[in-house]
Amino acid sequence: MSAGDVLVAFEDASVGYGSRAVVEHVSFSVRAGEFVGLVGPNAAGKSTLLRALTGSASVLAGSVSLGGSPLARLTPKERALLVGVVPQTPTAAFAFSARAFVEMGRNPHLGTMQSVSAEDRAVVEDVMRLTDTERLAAETIDTLSGGDLQRLTVAQALAQQPQVLLLDEATAHLDLNHALQVLDLVRRLADEGLAVLGVFHDLDLAARYSDRIAVVAAGRVREPVEPERALDAAVVSDVFDVRAVVRTDPVSGTVSVTPIVRGADVARTTRGPVGVVCGSGSGARVLRRLAQAGVGTSCGALSEGDIDQAVAVALGADLVTLPPFGEIDADAEERVRSAYSTTRACVVCDTPFGRANVANLRAAVRAGVPLVLVGEMTPERDYSGGEATALWAEAVCAGAERVSDEGAAIAALLGMLDGEGHDG
């Protein structure tokens, strides 16, 4: 096996159970040294793809091959020499010792009546050390916690010394520390030449460990691509029906998905719109709450990379998008003012103002609509050389409603919209 060999290949394959196809026209491959993640909603067929590789689901059309051989031509034993599986929920109904349990992974390497050799035992020791399960060796597995059992199952699969490892939500039962430990280990083995195909529910973990991610949804598998391309806000919204902020996590440097609200909980826009002056996350809660209440929003001008900008995009709010750290020029400000002037009311969230964003506040105050002001304008909040404080005073003089926090702001806004409804 040289690095880069195709070890798993689906070619226009349909897989399922009996005669019922769960996923159709699947075409992708996993090479040696590559970690491919599968993500998608429940019952989309992610596990079915894995199960097709071990003969538990059927290949109904097209072809699936393992290590270059068509799946159908491999005996269970030959298959087990190529592929190890870490299933979702390991079973431990019987009182085997942990060591005996891991040793079962050597089965494909042994003849019918052959018992484990010193070499087999060395492999078992080795994988138990890698999975940090040595201290469990003498325990009986039916007394262990789900997490310990899961790591022993990883050890059992590694004891097969496979070229391909399939993970079916292998870390679902593990605490964060052990989940990272197992995935770090698998990642390292992938770097050493193992081909990994893993089903994930946790999108952040999928993005963190996968070289490529394939989205499985509606009976189809999308071509696996790099995590940042596979998981954007539009995909998360389409596939999972969740409005989310997708950005690069500054710590891990990989894509991170922060859900805002379930798509089903976003009401059809029936009221508003309401103007929101926000930035740096000060408006996220207000935007989310208004979307749930079916109130359209207009967010002024926000820079790419700003949290509120991502939230506004995910929720389909009206906004003027600036380049990262961009300033609001006269043209943008005029567009913002005109957008705010068509709203029923504007809320000024508890965000600091500097030269870059004070134009949003100016546009709101000059828009001529009722204002709701959150918090106080203190020197700690005004980096605009006094302009924000002046605008704030102007708004207060014009009769703006002042509230202490976002919750009160939302209540005030909804009250205004309802009041209008009654008047009309």
């Binding site: 269970p76 085997f96 089965n107 059992q156």
Partner: protein, 340 residues
């Protein structure tokens, strides 16, 4: 650790074998007439050297000894079948009696008895063949019935077994009534009759048990894998479907042997493997031989009790095993509930 547990397994097996030897001697000594220990040894010695003389020797060598040995072989067979069924179905409550396999074998045997009469050839070849066919057919039907939904649930397996068992027993009873002339032979055998013991049966059962125990022992690692579930066993390289057919064949073989000799004896196949597993753990390399020996021990002792409780009248050994096994089954159920 592994070496330690293997050594302790060997000690348990040796202890069981020694107890079995004692039980066999006791089984030969006690009965309607008590035979002193010395006479037992003497008669055995004379029989082996071909110098047997008199009625006393005949009682020991031709009546008591084959009966005790047969009890041991039947017990070992049932326990072996129990181990196999419990592994294949991952169900500690599975045994040939509860799964209906014994009833199936019984019906097959009855058909052969009624059709073939009571010639020695018929009894030693025809009846076991009928029992084997009956056992295989029954387990196939029971598994099909229980896995209709695609999954083999523990409860539905037991329910299907009990339902099939009742049906087949009813058919057997019907046959007995219809074929009056062979009724006596059938009844005699059905009651759990170790009373018909003779040497040809001993050789027959020895042969069947050798195959039905030795072959699965060679595949003990595969039986271990089956305990992880069909899917996992397949992932670890076992050809699950083929192995199941093969192991069910072995189990049916030993059940057929036991049933064609002694009728329906319940609970030995359930209790024995379970007790042994509590002591030795689930590793089949130790569990299979230890259970076989323990099963032999249980049935030799049960037969001894059956013979001496109401002596000189004998009670069918099936009554003794059921009296012990029924409560044991309830205990298992309750314990399982509590674990949940």
């Amino acid at each position: 650790m592994a070496a330690d547990s293997r050594r302790s397994s060997r000690a348990v097996i040796a202890g069981l074998a020694f107890s079995l030897a004692l039980a066999v001697v006791a089984g030969v000594m006690f009965g309607a007439v008590r035979v002193p220990f010395g006479d037992v040894l003497g008669a055995l010695g004379r029989a082996l050297t071909g110098t047997a003389t008199g009625v006393g020797d005949a009682v020991i060598v031709d009546l008591r000894l084959p009966r005790v040995l047969l009890a041991a072989l039947v017990g070992a067979s049932l326990a072996t079948a129990g181990v196999l069924y419990q592994a294949l179905f991952r169900n500690a409550l599975a045994d040939p009696y509860i799964l209906g396999v014994s009833s199936g074998a019984g019906l097959g045997a009855t058909i052969m008895l009624v059709a073939g009469g009571s010639s020695l050839l018929g009894r030693v070849v025809g009846v076991p063949l009928g029992a084997f066919a009956g056992a295989l057919l029954t387990i196939t039907v029971v598994v099909r019935l229980a896995s209709r939904t695609g999954r083999l649930e523990a409860t539905s397996l037991l329910l299907a077994g009990v339902a099939v068992s009742y049906t087949l027993s009813a058919v057997t009873s019907f046959l007995m009534v219809v074929a009056r002339e062979s009724m006596q032979a059938v009844v005699f055998w059905m009651m759990g009759g170790l009373t018909g013991a003779s040497w040809p049966y001993v050789w027959l059962l020895t042969g069947l048990l050798l195959v039905g125990l030795a072959v699965p022992m060679a595949f003990s690692r595969h039986l271990d894998l089956m305990l992880l579930g069909d899917e996992r066993a397949g992932q670890l390289g076992l050809n699950v479907e083929r192995f199941k057919i093969f192991a069910l064949g072995c189990a049916s073989l030993v059940v057929a042997g036991a049933v064609s000799v002694s009728g329906l004896i319940g609970f030995v196949g359930l209790m024995t493997p379970h007790m042994v597993r509590l002591v030795l753990g689930p590793d089949h390399r130790a569990l299979l031989p230890a259970s076989a020996i323990a099963g032999a021990l249980v049935l030799v002792l049960s037969d001894l009790i059956a013979r001496i409780v109401l002596a000189p009248v004998e009670i069918p050994v099936g009554i003794v095993t059921a009296l012990a096994g029924g409560p044991f089954f309830v205990w298992l159920l309750v314990r399982k509930e509590r674990v949940r």
